[in-house]
């Protein structure tokens, strides 16, 4: 099979006249990295990999050896649809390995593969479908603030404005790049849009999300528009989240489904949810990795604040959607905390690890919290045993630091580097004197 895949790639490079093959991989912070090789190098790259100096890539640096190997995954080879076909280009995702071929511990894609393998050993396949929110802004800020391109609201039909046509063109491009779109619409805030992708296995989805963010930004940039996945770019309106619809499959069967349960949730699903709830605080630094992420996780903007679950309550961390026509395959849970600025490989890794821990230890699912938690006081919440998600990057890092689960899921290398890098980010933020402080204190104090 592998030989046939390689052959397929090499013949396509030849037949389609590919001038440049872009090797894509991801740094620890979730930034897409790329270097290009000529088609003549492709056979060599597929057989032996391409070595490069990883020391300037975020999270790739090591003491002894700087060089790493990029091993193209031939099944991810695709022609880039937005490049002129006369000078066609293609891209392929790479696994990063040490020079001896063993997986490089700093490569997020390898980390996810390792976590998926743990599930596979139990006969489980992890499926993910994300709902991604993002904003379109004018290329230049005004008074240091981003400028929205429309004033539309949730589901508004904004037929003439540029952002709707951008979204349409983006979807067309995504479909030609094997990323099927389920829904798309104008979101609640001005210039905010949402695109929901159809479920795939978690590795394919992590790759798809890297492609997705690139395509959204690229198509926008072609029209001189800036697209951003920043979690909370505008004060006072909703931020951008990335709700994840999760399920586990065992062969052809949805391991989350049970016909006899009133919510159609199997014991596996319940334990998985219990795992997510119990370890929610520990994994938040990974699913919400910026200072800005925590400005989204506040009451009043449909973002979760409390560690709870419910069937039809959007203030909780986990929602259990009612499947269309009661389809067995569609039974799933929706994790509402992650934002689109996360590293999908690492986020999926810690989410899966938390859920699997719940299954392995047979965690008990707490009671459903169907009241609107935003309206409840702290004492009432404490009485119900409902905790809050970390309130800042600093809080989240503190909890993560002592998490054995996250350390194992990410591996020592990434775990340490991530904490170090993010603490530095927090220190920088902490010493920053904001406009808020100037406005509030300068005159009055």
């Amino acid at each position: 099979m592998l030989d046939a895949q390689r052959d397929y790639v090499l013949r396509t490079v030849e037949e389609r006249g590919i001038r440049l093959v872009r090797l894509w991989f991801t740094d620890v912070l979730g930034n897409l990295k790329s270097f290009a090789i000529s088609p003549a190098e492709m056979e060599n790259a597929l057989n032996d990999g391409m070595s490069f100096d990883g020391s300037s890539i975020d999270g790739y640096g090591r003491v002894q050896e700087a060089d790493v190997l990029a091993l193209p995954d031939p099944n991810t080879f695709e022609v880039l649809p937005w490049v002129d076909s006369k000078a066609a280009e293609a891209r392929v995702f790479c696994d990063i390995a040490q020079l001896d071929g063993t997986p490089f511990e700093g490569d997020p894609r390898q980390v996810l593969k390792r976590n998926l393998e743990a599930a596979r050993k139990q006969g489980l396949v992890f499926y993910v479908a994300p709902d991604i929110e993002y904003f379109y802004f004018a290329p230049h800020n005004e008074n240091g603030r981003p400028v929205p391109l429309d004033e539309g609201g949730f589901f508004d039909l904004t037929t003439t404005d540029i952002t709707s046509s951008l979204r349409k063109e983006t979807i067309r491009t995504l479909e030609t790049m094997s990323i099927p779109v389920e829904y798309s619409f104008h979101e609640d805030s001005p210039s905010q849009h949402e695109i929901d992708l159809r479920h795939t296995d978690a590795l394919t989805m992590a790759d798809s999300l890297m492609t997705f963010r690139f395509v959204v930004k690229e198509i926008a940039a072609m029209r001189n528009v800036h697209a951003t996945f920043m979690p909370k770019p505008l004060e006072g309106v909703q931020g951008s989240g990335m709700h994840l619809h999760l399920s586990l499959f065992k062969n052809d069967l949805n391991a989350f489904h049970s016909a006899s349960d009133p919510y159609n949730l199997s014991d596996t699903a319940k334990s998985f949810m219990a795992g997510l709830l119990r370890h929610a605080a520990e994994i938040t630094a990974v699913t919400n990795q910026t200072v800005n992420s925590y400005k989204r996780l506040v009451p009043g903007f449909e973002a979760p604040v409390h560690v709870s679950w419910a069937r039809n309550n959007r203030s909780g961390l986990i929602r259990v959607p009612v499947p269309k026509r009661g389809s067995e395959l569609a039974t799933r849970i929706e994790l509402r905390s992650p934002d689109p600025a996360c590293n999908p490989y690492l986020a999926f890794s810690v989410i899966l690890a938390a859920g699997l821990r719940g299954i392995a230890e047979g965690y008990e699912l707490p009671n459903e919290a169907d009241a609107n938690l935003f309206e409840m006081g702290d004492t009432a919440l404490t009485k119900l045993g409902i905790e809050q998600l970390p309130q800042s990057l600093n809080d989240a890092l503190r909890v993560m630091e002592s998490s054995q689960l996250v350390a194992e899921a990410l591996g020592e290398h990434i775990f340490e580097w991530f904490l170090r890098n993010k603490r530095a980010e927090w220190r920088k933020y902490k010493t920053h004197v904001s406009q808020f402080e100037i406005d509030t204190y300068l005159r009055s104090l």
Partner: protein, 229 residues
């Protein structure tokens, strides 16, 4: 050279020159001694063509040609070998041969004439193109086109589409598709098939997405059922 099928050769012990040229060019052949044995010796799929020497025993040679043409499926692509003095004989026998070559012949000329005679068979068997309703897959170059424009597919999308196009009108369960297209070592669950079908439909475009039909609680079918007319 690819095998095109069995050639009848007369005389049954042909000249060394002829036998060597046929062998070196990759043709499979069987000698026939006389007209009566033509049909008895024919392979079950029939003769694909013939090289008939009329230069030494013209009577028997032309009798063989007549016999080949009278088969239940008349043999096409008959090359006759004649001497320069026999050119006049051709006039009244145009229906009995498709090309002729003067002896003594140059091996490269024989090879060229055979290649020309079997051009269709040779290209058909080596290019291996499969087509269905505007969709065209070149199995050798892995390139897919729809209505002439290239279709960019990932390897597994291509493999699935190839399987569908090669088996039009038949219903396949997800399990069969997984084991036949992905192979047993693949561990992705039957949902992988759904994911790839969805991607293929998107790439075929809205008007052609129906080419891959969902057969409820069974699986998928490519192209119309052959029973639905």
């Amino acid at each position: 050279m690819t095998d095109v099928g069995m050639l009848a050769v007369y005389p049954d012990t042909p000249s060394v020159e002829l036998a060597r040229t046929l062998d070196l060019s990759g043709y499979t052949w069987k000698g026939v001694a006389n007209a009566d044995t033509v049909s008895r010796l024919a392979p079950t799929t029939g003769w694909v063509g013939a090289v008939v020497g009329c230069d030494t025993d013209p009577e028997s040679g032309w009798a063989i040609c007549r016999s080949l043409r009278k088969q239940q499926h008349p043999v096409q692509r008959i090359l006759v070998l004649i001497t320069g003095a026999q050119i006049g004989d051709l006039e009244v026998r145009d229906n009995l041969f498709d090309d002729f070559l003067l002896t003594p012949f140059h091996p490269r000329e024989l090879e060229a004439r055979l290649r020309h005679l079997f051009f269709n068979e040779l290209t058909a068997s080596s290019a291996t193109v499969v087509e269905h309703a505007g969709l065209r897959l070149n199995l050798e170059t892995y390139q897919a086109t729809f209505g002439g424009s290239p279709l960019d597919l990932t390897f597994m999308e291509y493999e699935l589409l190839k399987f569908f196009v090669q088996h039009p009108g038949r219903v396949f369960s997800r399990e069969v598709l997984l084991s036949d297209v992905w192979g047993y070592e693949y561990f992705g669950g039957a949902r992988t098939v759904d994911v790839h079908v969805r991607r293929l439909r998107a790439k075929l475009g809205e008007e052609h997405a129906h080419l891959i039909e969902t057969v409820r609680s069974v699986g998928y079918r490519f192209g119309a059922s052959k029973w639905s007319g």
